[in-house]
Structure formats: structure tokens, C-alpha cells
Amino acid sequence: MDTESSRKRILDRMRHALAAHPPQGQGSAAIPDRGGRVSVDGIFAPIEDSLARFRAECEANHTQLHLVTAESEADCLRKLLRSEQIELESRAGSEKSRVFVEPIFVQDAPELRRLIEAAPMPVRWSSDGPPAGTDLAGITLAEALVARTGSVLISSLNGGRAASVLPPLHIVYAPISQLVKELVEAIERVQASGRVRDVSMLSLIAGPSRTSDIEKMLVLGAHGPRRLAILLRL
């Protein structure tokens, strides 16, 4: 296959098409563009209280939001994992699938090492390899949290690509300083810090995986996690 000539022919056709009929104007509205920034001003109503909005959106998209402090975080994590263990065992009983007794997959980061130290449990660190597909949960940090849509922006540096999508429970541990109001701010953050350039994947996650492909009925837990929990460190 002559790959170069296809490329050249497609490009030639595009250039010819655009030169023969130069585009007039820029469509029906001017793009408010401030140095590579796209304005969403006026598109959405302003948000006054980020945390209140984030909490409401998380509830709407079935994310479990827990506000934690240095004192309460370990206990909160233990409770979450215990409830997941119970849930999986009860499902295993009815569905005859295998019981998950594997450890928890955790992004290797100082914050999470501290957290696990306070709540000791069998753990596999991301520095030892990717998740196995049998892990009880995946615990990662995030790049940013977005109040507008109750979502979490993660990257492939948060424990890899599969950590947030393979285990049945994904737990995000994030300081409240990572919470921004708008998606555009989260994008600017990862762009300004060079993160976008340095990672091979980013994903904006809003709630546990879901499907409505059967009679439009919502099912939580499609191919990804059935539960998404955020430990928001105040």
C-alpha cells in the first residue's frame, strides 16, 4: 500500500477544495477566543458554591462522595472496602461467579502510602505492575475535580489506564484544593502544568460505568466499576 500518496492526495483535495471556495466568515457566531481559550461565558449559569454543586452533581450521577479529614479518612476507607467485600460475596452467592479475595490495587503515591499505613490491608502498588482484573478495588489520586458536572479528571499517571476502570470499585482520594468550578478550568490546569503533554491518557469520569442499552433502563456497572467513591480531603 502506498501510504504516502494517499496522504498527499487527501491533503491536495482538501487544499484545492478550500482554495476554490474559501470559507466566508466563521459560521453564524463569532468564537469568543481569548488566546487559545474558549469561552463558555453565558452558556452555563454561574456556580456560587463549588462544594455544594459538586455534592449535588455527584448524587445525581451516583458517585459516593465522602468528605474526610486526617482523622476520619482511614476509617472511611475501611468501611467502603468492607461494604464492597460484602456486596461481592452476596453477588457471588447468587451469580456463581468467583469470590474476590484479591488485594486492593493502589496508585503508588506518597499520599496513598500514608493512607494505607493508617488503614493497613493487603495492597498491590501500581509500581509493581498493572491491575490483575481480580482486585477488590482501585485507589487512585486525580488531576482535578469538576463541580459543574460532578466529575473527576484522571490521567494515566494515576495508577495507569486500567486502575480506574477494571476493578468493581474505584476510589478517588483528592484534596479539596483540586476542586474547580468549570470543566474549562480543569482543562487549563492540566494544560498549564504540562500534564497533558506528559501522559498518554486522560479521562473525565462522571459516576460508575453505566448502560441504558436495554429498553433505556439504567444499569450501574456496565464494563467498568459498579461503584465510584470520592474521599474528598478537607
Binding site: I10, P23, A29, F44, N61, D213
Partner: protein, 481 residues
């Protein structure tokens, strides 16, 4: 009459009579309508959002070559490969060669309409590579050996009981598993094994981000995330028109696509993928390819009147709004892209000769253009297609003669009146002499399935003259029919 048109006539006429089937689709669309109504209310100014999306798409298309080259350069800098495919064959062959070179035995796919367009699954299966759809709706229609019914909701036409029966037959799911949750769980279990053992992952892309060299993929199930994370090769197959200038444009396009597509504030997973696993990363494929497909798109670009058709973000809103789609369903179109956007785009991509008939599958009510989140003037494009089809004399001679006769009659008042009188008399005679819907009925194509309205006793002009002749006042109180 083309083969595709014959199929259209047959399937559309069956579907138009299948009221239970239409009810399934209408129920699904009622859920969609409620969600989208609430979704639009989340915007302070939905119309302004549409206008800005239109403007950004116009900018992208106006510099399509520049943005694609920028995208290519950035993807290469991230260690990925970019292949430009002029035709469906080239795209297919490239992916097939890659699969062979990497010794792939199992390929997993997440939803990609472009892969339907190039018939990728059949090609891979033909080469002995098992190819599995992982989106639940796509998985269901693949088990049924059927094309997707809808570009966003592929199994929209099926009842839960049908899916339960299908899973019992094909997946040995036990009797009694029939809630949506149980069925989704059964598919998850089967597909989880595939995810963990696949050699190659194939996805589409909703957007290509020029300034960062990233492919953006929108989904809810997590299947695209797994498809792009676990296998050792990841291929993104998409059209050249998907490019957006800046990463920040997604702050607008992600919520707009979610709202128009499903009514969600934002879809569950909006992922950006820019290359293979990087040194220091835990996982991810070791090879990353983007296949950019032309397959007729540059011809649409060359037509300034039609250029904006390339703005389409494949949200499915125009299908959902279209009364013709509700009635004839997604399979009658016989093409990858059904509904209003398909009726505009497919004849442009694949020729008026074979697919021009699709541009007539519309009442021109304009509901499609009203809901389009990127403001594509869909129903006017349908009229433009019809104009070109008519000027190329591609319509049946019977239709042209009929319209010629109509023009002759309608361009002279006396002729018009006489023709009307004649027609009314004929209709009355016909309903007295010939059984309605029978083989002798000249209106049989209509009357076979529905009643013909009775011919009125007089024309509007006659009624008007008679009413005006009455003394004033009576006309107002008079018996208006």
C-alpha cells in the same frame, strides 16, 4: 431503481405497518425526550451553545488540512502512527495488515460508526481474527447478525424479552435471567474474558484534538476505556472531519454532545488518548495507530453549499426527532448512517444514483435542523440533494411526467379548476366502482394500508365563491365545513 432503493421500499413498508415495533422505539424515545428536555434546561443558553459549536466546527473545517497536519505531528511526537486512508478498502487493509503483523487472534471493538462504514468486522473475521463488539447494544446486534438500528442506541428496536431469549440461545444464560441488570451482567461476564485476552483494541473517536494530538472518546460503559487500555495494540478509526482546533473546545463539545445524545449532563467517560504507553506508565498498549478516513468526505468539503454537513458530531438527535425514522425505523435506510443526517450524507458520500432515494425519506418538517446541536441546516440540505437529483434526471420517468402534468395544470387557473373537478369526480367514481385497496384500485400503494380521504363535494374556490355570494354576516355564522 437501485438495489438499495428496492431494499428501502420493502423494509420501510414492512416497518411502517409494524405498530408494535414502532411502540418499542417510541417508548425508548419518550425516555430520551424527557432526559434531553431536562438536559437542555441545565444550560443558561442552549441556543448560544449551538451557535458556538457551529462556529468552532466551521473554523475546524475551514482549515481542515492545517488542523489535521497539526494533529498528525503531535500524535507522532507522542509515539503514535497516523495513516490517511482515501477509501474504505485502504482503511480496512491497513488495519488487517497491522493485525496480521502483530499476530492478533482476537480483536475487541468499542462503538465506531466508521468501522461499520468500512465493514471492518467482516474483513477481520474473514481473515480468521475473532472480532467482538463490546458496547452492550452493539454486542446484542452482533449476536443477532444485524446492523445497528441507531447510531447511539444500536439495540433500540428490541424488547428485553427478545434479548433474554437471544442470550439464552447464544450465551447459555440460564432461564429466569431477564432484568436489564441480569442481562447486562451476563454480557459483562462474557466480554470481561474477551477484554482480558484480546490482542488488539479498535475504537472510533468523537473528536480529534489538533493542538494536543489526542483522540477524544465519549462513552458510558467503560468498554472504550478497557479497549484502549488492555490490548497491546490500539487503533483509532475515524473520519477526517472529527478534528477540533483546541483541547479547551471540549469544555463546550463534551456537555453539548452528552445533552444531545442522551440528555446526560456529561457522559460517564470522556477519555483522551494520545499514544502508546509512555516510559514510566503502568499499562497501556505498546502500539497506537490513528486511521483517518476520507471515503468521499473531501468531495463534501469541495461543495461550499454542503460543507457544513461535515460538522456532524453523530449525536443521533436528528434521528430521534424525525417522524420518518420513528415510522420506518433504522434498518430501512440500509446504510451506516440512518435518519436525516444519513439521508443527507450517504447520497453525498456514495452517490445519488444508488442512494439518492434516501433524500426523499423526509417530510421536510425541519425537526432535525431544530434539534441539531451544531446547527446543520438538515432539511434544506435534503432539498438541495433533491434539486440535484432532479436536475440529473435520476428520478423515475413516471414521477417526472406526473410532475410535468401537475405543473401544466397548476400554472393556469382554469386548467387547475377543471383538473380538480375531474379528479374529484374520478375519486368518487373509483370509490363506488372499485373496492378500496383491491388490485384494481389505482391508489393501491396508499390504500393498501390506509383509507383514502373522501373527495369533497366542491373545491375550495367553489366554496369561497358560494360563501362570498351570500349576504354579509351569514358567511361568518355560516356552516363552515
Amino acid at each position: 431503481m437501485s438495489q438499495a432503493e428496492r431494499i428501502f421500499d420493502r423494509v420501510a413498508s414492512q416497518a411502517a405497518r409494524d405498530l408494535p415495533q414502532q411502540q418499542i422505539v417510541r417508548n425508548s424515545l419518550a425516555t430520551y425526550d424527557r432526559a434531553v428536555g431536562a438536559g437542555k434546561d441545565r444550560f443558561a443558553d442552549w441556543q448560544e451553545a449551538r451557535a458556538r459549536c457551529h462556529a468552532i466546527k466551521a473554523e475546524a473545517v475551514a482549515h481542515l488540512d492545517t488542523y489535521l497536519l497539526q494533529f498528525e505531528e503531535r500524535v507522532k511526537a507522542r509515539g503514535g502512527h497516523v495513516f490517511w486512508a482515501e477509501t474504505a478498502d485502504e482503511a480496512r487493509d491497513y488495519i488487517l495488515d497491522l493485525a496480521r503483523r502483530r499476530g492478533a487472534r482476537l480483536a475487541i471493538k468499542s462503538k465506531s460508526m466508521v468501522s461499520e462504514e468500512v465493514r471492518l468486522t467482516a474483513a477481520l473475521e474473514g481473515a480468521g481474527i475473532e472480532t467482538v463488539e463490546t458496547d452492550l447494544g452493539e454486542f446484542i446486534v452482533q449476536l443477532r447478525r444485524e446492523p445497528p438500528y441507531h447510531i447511539v442506541t444500536p439495540a433500540m428496536h428490541l424488547r428485553r424479552a427478545q434479548i433474554a431469549e437471544l442470550f439464552r440461545q447464544k450465551l447459555n444464560v440460564p432461564l429466569g435471567a431477564e432484568t436489564a441488570e441480569e442481562l447486562a451482567g451476563a454480557a459483562r461476564a462474557v466480554l470481561r474474558e474477551k477484554f482480558l485476552s484480546a490482542d488488539m483494541g479498535i475504537t472510533g473517536a468523537n473528536f480529534l484534538i489538533a493542538d494536543q494530538g489526542l483522540a477524544a472518546i465519549t462513552e458510558n460503559e467503560g468498554n472504550a476505556r478497557l479497549t484502549s487500555s488492555l490490548p497491546r495494540v490500539h487503533v483509532v478509526l475515524t473520519g477526517i472531519e472529527k478534528v477540533l482546533p483546541r483541547l479547551a473546545d471540549l469544555a463546550l463539545f463534551w456537555p453539548v454532545l452528552s445533552t444531545a445524545g442522551t440528555g446526560q449532563a456529561i457522559t460517564c467517560y470522556n477519555s483522551l488518548i494520545g499514544g502508546p504507553r509512555r516510559p514510566g506508565e503502568v499499562d497501556g498498549p505498546d502500539e497506537f495507530h490513528v486511521v483517518l478516513l476520507d471515503n468521499g468526505r473531501t468531495a463534501v468539503l469541495a461543495d461550499p453549499e454542503r460543507r457544513e454537513v461535515l460538522h456532524c458530531i453523530r449525536c443521533g438527535a436528528c434521528l430521534n426527532a424525525c417522524p420518518v425514522f420513528h415510522t420506518i425505523g433504522g434498518h430501512a435506510y440500509g446504510t451506516t448512517y440512518p435518519g436525516p443526517i444519513g439521508a443527507v450524507l450517504v447520497p453525498l458520500l456514495r452517490g445519488f444514483e444508488a442512494f439518492g432515494h434516501l433524500s426523499y425519506a423526509s417530510s421536510l418538517c425541519g425537526a432535525c435542523a431544530e434539534v441539531c446541536p451544531v446547527e446543520i441546516d438538515l432539511h434544506h440540505h435534503l432539498i438541495r440533494n433533491r434539486r440535484d437529483i432532479a436536475s440529473k434526471q435520476l428520478r423515475p420517468s413516471r414521477e417526472r411526467r406526473g410532475l410535468g402534468l401537475w405543473r401544466w395544470a397548476a400554472t393556469d387557473v382554469r386548467r387547475f379548476e377543471r383538473a380538480g373537478n375531474l379528479l374529484r369526480r374520478l375519486m368518487r367514481f373509483k370509490s363506488a366502482a372499485v373496492p378500496e385497496g383491491g388490485p384494481l384500485d389505482p391508489f393501491r400503494p396508499w390504500t393498501r394500508h390506509r383509507a383514502l380521504p373522501a373527495a369533497p363535494a366542491e373545491s375550495f374556490r367553489q366554496w369561497w365563491r358560494r360563501e362570498r355570494a351570500q349576504p354579509a354576516g351569514r358567511a361568518e355564522k355560516g356552516a363552515r365545513r
